[in-house]
């Protein structure tokens, strides 16, 4: 009788131990999962910022209110630029380089610099645009 009770007690203790181990394991996995999720959200926010900046850059080189060139018949050309509206560009843009010439460079720390292909003075050039906080 005592032996049977002892055996049952042993099984009960083992069951509880097993359950505790599994709970701890699940908790540690969940913690890792939550950490991954947080990292993903941070990554998403960063990606969203990059996309926003790319859209600003797109507008910069395709909108005649900014850097895109307008011909005599008032047609606006995407990717062909002139610098007459350089003072109107987004305040977050702190660096602008076309080919080898730098037209804007503040002392602020640049977060991202993007490269695009444009036509400036009838020549293919690389425009580099830097964004600051």
């Amino acid at each position: 009788m005592t032996l049977a009770i002892n055996k049952k007690a042993q099984i009960l203790v083992l069951d509880i131990l097993m359950l505790l181990i599994i709970i701890l394991l699940i908790l540690s996995i969940e913690e890792k999962n939550i950490n991954n999720y947080t990292l993903n959200i941070k990554h998403e926010i960063k990606n969203e910022k990059i996309i926003q900046e790319q859209l600003v850059l797109d507008k910069l080189i395709s909108d005649c209110n900014y850097l895109a060139k307008q011909n005599k018949t008032k047609v606006c050309y995407s990717n062909e630029i002139e610098l007459k509206n350089i003072n109107k560009i987004d305040r977050n843009i702190c660096y602008l380089k076309i080919g080898l010439n730098t037209y804007l460079n503040t002392n602020k720390e640049k977060t991202n610099i993007y490269k695009r292909g444009i036509i400036y003075n009838n020549v293919f050039e690389i425009i580099e645009v830097g964004f600051c906080e």
Partner: protein, 121 residues
């Protein structure tokens, strides 16, 4: 008592499986987002090469190649101008994704020009 123990263990194992599946899903989502952004950036640059080639009416494939290298770097890819095709970097078709764009336009001499640019990522 024994049966209850087995049920606890099975429950725990199922929970572990579910959590592992969740981790896998989350990791895959993050990787997909990163590559999509890269694809978007490459797509924009290919578009730049095509539109500038059209505006400047570039009919020299090596000039387009120089623009490609300046803008996209030594990333493997190809340029096709009408029937002529040249490769940038190694000719490697085993790479996973190909991003390509093409345009056709009529130049000042009334000739149809076809340009295609592809980049492997």
């Amino acid at each position: 008592m024994n049966n209850k123990g087995i049920i606890f263990t099975i429950d725990g194992l199922i929970a572990i499986l579910l959590v592992s599946a969740l981790i896998l899903v989350c990791t895959n989502t993050a990787n997909t987002q990163g590559s999509k952004l890269e694809e978007y950036q490459i797509n924009q640059r290919i578009g730049d090469i095509l539109i500038t080639s059209q505006i400047l009416e570039i009919n020299n494939i090596y000039e387009i190649k120089n623009n490609y290298i300046e803008l996209i770097g030594e990333r493997n890819g190809y340029i096709k101008l009408n029937t002529k095709l040249i490769w940038v970097g190694e000719r490697n078709n085993l790479e996973k994704n190909l991003i390509s764009q093409k345009i056709t336009y009529i130049n000042i001499s009334n000739k149809e020009i076809y340009i295609e640019v592809g980049v492997y990522i």
